[in-house]
Symmetry: C2
Subunit: 338 residues, 2 copies
Amino acid sequence: MLSERRLEVLRAIVQDYVGTEEPVGSKALTERHRLGVSPATIRNDMAALEDEGFIAQPHTSAGRIPTDKGYRLFVDRLAGVKPLSSPERRAIQNFLDSAVDLDDVVARTVRLLAQLTRQVAVVQYPSLTRSTVRHVELLSLSPVRLMLVLITDTGRVEQRMIDCPAPFGETSLADLRARLNARVVGRRFADVPQLVQDLQESFEQEDRGTVTTVLATLLETLVEETEERLMIGGTSNLTRFGHDFPLTIRPVLEALEEQVVLLKLLGEAQDSGITVRIGHENPHEGLTSTSVVAVGYGSGDEAVAKLGVVGPTRMDYPGTMGAVRAVARYVGQILAES
Amino acid sequence: MLSERRLEVLRAIVQDYVGTEEPVGSKALTERHRLGVSPATIRNDMAALEDEGFIAQPHTSAGRIPTDKGYRLFVDRLAGVKPLSSPERRAIQNFLDSAVDLDDVVARTVRLLAQLTRQVAVVQYPSLTRSTVRHVELLSLSPVRLMLVLITDTGRVEQRMIDCPAPFGETSLADLRARLNARVVGRRFADVPQLVQDLQESFEQEDRGTVTTVLATLLETLVEETEERLMIGGTSNLTRFGHDFPLTIRPVLEALEEQVVLLKLLGEAQDSGITVRIGHENPHEGLTSTSVVAVGYGSGDEAVAKLGVVGPTRMDYPGTMGAVRAVARYVGQILAES
DNA sequence: GCTGGCACTCGAACGCCAAGAGTGCCAGGC
DNA sequence: GCCTGGCACTCTTGGCGTTCGAGTGCCAGC
């Protein structure tokens, strides 16, 4: 068990290292923090912290830097979440309020997060599986060509082309549109498959082929789009990463290009509460020198998607967590309003 | 006027430098290219090329590297466009053919371009101004809430929420929908404003407010969405940029984050034919050490949008130009089919 | 107009040394 | 028992001079 002061020393080390990017020594610590003891004492504490694996020395005659384990302890026990200032809050709200559609909301959220945290921001589009259907529209582009448009309660829109096996009249189309909407509007996407499964039976023989095709396309859209989309931004913040550039930044950029990786990353975050993954806690290889701070957001109580930032393990955790939480909260509000 | 051989020397310098990333000397040139003369002669030629500003020495006792002006001459007079191999062509076609919707087409195009050229790829979504209207849909979400959906011939879909000043009945809605479509389907977006300007006059007094609102929203959407969207990818290729990382890469990443900058960049490319902007020819400050290779693409004869890559001035121009042109061609085909 | 020869320049690499930061440990004091 | 001042030790960092080699420019000769 670590004494109170040793924890205090760890906190001081983390804070200083985050600020200066340089290994911090015992003397510097006593100068910048009122620890009430001499450097020699701090040295003993540091030796103990190193034995426990919370800090490490890059080389023998250098100061100490926190390890992943050290950051973990810091985040779990030593640091709170730093709330944003009220000007910041107002700025967020203003900026998000002027969004015109869902794409715009997401785009603005990304910019905002990247600016506030000075890190790479990742925002997932509201998920289809947890959303409900607001409307299904069928348009006839030609007698044998339909367009299916799917609108969610979060404002997301998906469309698909459909080639009909046989000409499909306007009355049949209106009929199908009405029946389809009657069954699925307001329901969750996950429930749609059962809700429409016997729909084609109520149609004339000649139209059944088309109806079946439409239903198949609808279900396909649901499945395909469960592969969620996301938007990232603030990659130029990666340049503030460290000194040994190419090696560090390369795998990160590569990971960021892989939507699958990012979705998995966000997916592993808890539904509620802020999740912080530090360095090697990250499953993906290219991201072992980064930390991920993620949180769910949603229009109601439940999270419909997640957002977060990716940055160096040496980051300002309290500030980042505060910004991420605040942005998630406001985006949730915006979505609820629309 | 430069002699034939001196041009040949310039070509050799560009090729070698692009391959090795290192200043190329007279001896190395004679070894790798059959120029038929001795290093001393090459040195004279190089001195001449340097006088003309086509090549430069990083420092006195180093080899030469091409200047922007040198690359320009190379691109204009010395290099052709290298066509892709037929396996590559087949791969492109296969990859693009399996796209499910417009977003997917664009996303795949970006990946493809980035992979083929090993550079940062930028693809603009098909522009609204040059597109035609395929369909306008109006959905009633509640008696006082409408959704406007706009579908283009390139498959792009835009939607907007509309709050009606007064309740709007289903029959009025159907009427408006029919009249709207009758007027604008198949027409260019640019022509829409005049086509709908007196539409509200044929409606009952009580509905006019709503009709006016709908029309206003439609026009607003046209204007707003003329601010085009685009997608970028392959940023991890920036790591292969050069040796002096942070300074070079930072402004590039920043420029890439600014959609406005990129749109302007692509916008300045010619409508037909490949445009190559080299180094300082680029208007944007952060991109003075990059070259941009861009080309228009479209479903018909006319370009509806542009795509291209951004890379170091030291790039394989013939190969890059070949890849960009080929990808643009295939994307055009895909769009024409859908 | 090309070529071989030659002197020259200059950056990269290396080794060396001194300075400074930081540590670990120990003996003494509260 | 814990803290502290002192001290020897370790290593990195930066400056400096030297060497090495690539590449150049120029010139005389063919």
